[in-house]
Amino acid sequence: MTDIAVTQEEPAQLKSADSVIHDLPEQGTVRTSRDDLRDFIGPNAERYLRAYDLRQARRRFLGGFSLAAAFIPLAWLMYRKMYIAAGILLLGSLIIGLVMPDIGPGVGIAGAFGVLGKTLYLSHAESRLRKIGARHLPLAEHIALLKRAGGVSWVGGAIGAVIMAGCVLAAIAAHGQNG
């Protein structure tokens, strides 16, 4: 059992894709921030890691188009445990819908989330990784915390889907009544 504290991550190291953040000299192994990110992301990690690598290499700022984020943004946000963004999305849509009922947020939100979704998730993950890294936990606890803080929530995704379905059907019903 290696109980070696995680070394503090220098801000400059975060820029590098293969920055060493866990040094385990006894075993001769290294752990990079990319490994942390893989553990944090969980399912479909490779898609996000590809976008992460492109960002780190400064070849592309945006992570690429995400279909899930574009077509089911709320369910996707909650599936990926981004509850603050989900709350902002809901409250923002409500306010925009009330202030500008003729325009509505629909297509704009789909486009914005499709384009920015992966970048948003990577920024969220990096910010959480910095906070978890600052705890200097033993490696096993560190990985367990990463998996608990990240990963996906099927219940969250289902809640997001129910809310989206309710909103869409209510909008259709209201449109039908007005028509």
């Binding site: 709350g87 809901l90 409500l94 202030v99 803080a149 309710g166 059907l169």
Partner: protein, 324 residues
């Protein structure tokens, strides 16, 4: 468009004031991220309840709004308001907030529960005011004084018992009992709070003066009990906790940051006292609706008093004189 923006601002203001106070008081313990997540979950829970009602109405053969109109006032208050709303809030508190790595003490759960309630109240308030755009100012004033602080009180009760459960890790039976209380106590208080209002709405056709009086008296009783409970719990979680040292992450709130909230609380107390005085004068002169002025003053007075709370003086002084 300007009127709509004003309506939204007016709808968000009471919840923002209360959330601002609790977030300021607990900021050093809770952290900004967990506070924002709690508010986000409150917004999500309000939309979830709405979505379920909308979906239920659209499914053939299942019309929830018809069902609710057929229920008695108590049935509506319990099945439509108290049970689903507080259950969703409780489940989100226990599954998302409690699992978060920053939530490591009872105080974190307490403040998060209040913020979930206020996030919920913000969405509900916007929708109510938008639905009553003809008289949104009076509806907004009434809801700002009753419904929004009401949701904060349900959160205070839920958060207190959830925090007590968090502080009793060694006794599973006591923990289970406290968690059951954290779920059921807000459901009961919410139901009792809504019951007189919904009975009045359901029985409006055969409403009599004596029925209205008894419902108003019941409402007064529920509001007074809820206000007293909120004040007592807030005193435990905001003041006594520093003496009892039940949480490991106790940190004093910034005295300077609390000054604006003491001023806001003072204004709320003065406003409530003015309303009490006016209601007393109306009662003396035999005018109707004196109680209607008295009832909405109870919660602002309570939260005005809660905003005056500070950690014990000896601890504040000890911190101030400690070497940097």
């Amino acid at each position: 468009m300007l009127i709509r923006l004003l309506l939204i601002f007016f709808a968000l203001l009471p919840g923002a004031l209360l959330a601002g106070f609790f977030a300021t008081y607990f900021r050093r313990r809770l952290g900004g991220e967990l506070a924002a997540i709690a508010l986000g979950l409150g917004i999500i829970s309000a939309f979830l309840i709405l979505a379920v009602v909308w979906l239920g109405d659209l499914l053939p053969g299942l019309h929830l709004t018809d069902l609710t109109s057929a229920l008695s006032g108590f049935g509506q208050a319990f099945l439509v308001a108290g049970l689903p709303e507080e259950t969703v809030k409780f489940l989100l508190l226990m599954t998302v907030i409690r699992q978060h790595e920053d939530c490591d003490s009872g105080g974190d759960l307490f403040c998060s529960a209040v913020l979930i309630g206020l996030g919920f109240a913000a969405v509900e308030n916007i929708l109510y005011l938008a639905g009553n755009s003809g008289n949104w100012l009076s509806v907004g004033l009434l809801r700002g004084a009753l419904a929004v602080p009401g949701h904060a009180i349900f959160g205070i009760v839920m958060g207190h018992y959830a925090a007590q459960a968090q502080r009793s890790p060694t006794s599973p039976r006591r923990r289970f009992r406290l968690l059951a209380f954290a779920w059921l106590a807000p459901v009961i208080i919410h139901t009792l709070y809504d019951f007189p209002l919904m009975t009045l709405a359901a029985d409006v056709s055969d409403s009599t003066a004596s029925l209205e009086d008894s419902q108003a008296s019941l409402q007064l009783f529920v509001l007074l009990v809820a206000a007293a409970l909120a004040w007592f719990i807030a005193r435990q979680e905001l003041v006594s906790i520093y003496r009892n040292r039940l949480d490991h992450d106790l940190e004093l709130p910034s005295t300077r940051a609390l000054i604006p909230w003491r001023i806001v609380g003072g204004i709320m107390i003065l406003g409530a006292i003015a309303c009490f005085g006016l209601a007393a004068w109306m009662m003396q002169t035999g005018q109707d609706h004196a109680l209607m002025l008295f009832l909405p003053s109870i919660f602002p007075l309570t939260f005005g008093c809660i905003m005056q709370m500070r950690p014990p003086k000896e601890l504040r002084n000890a911190t101030a004189s400690a070497p940097v």
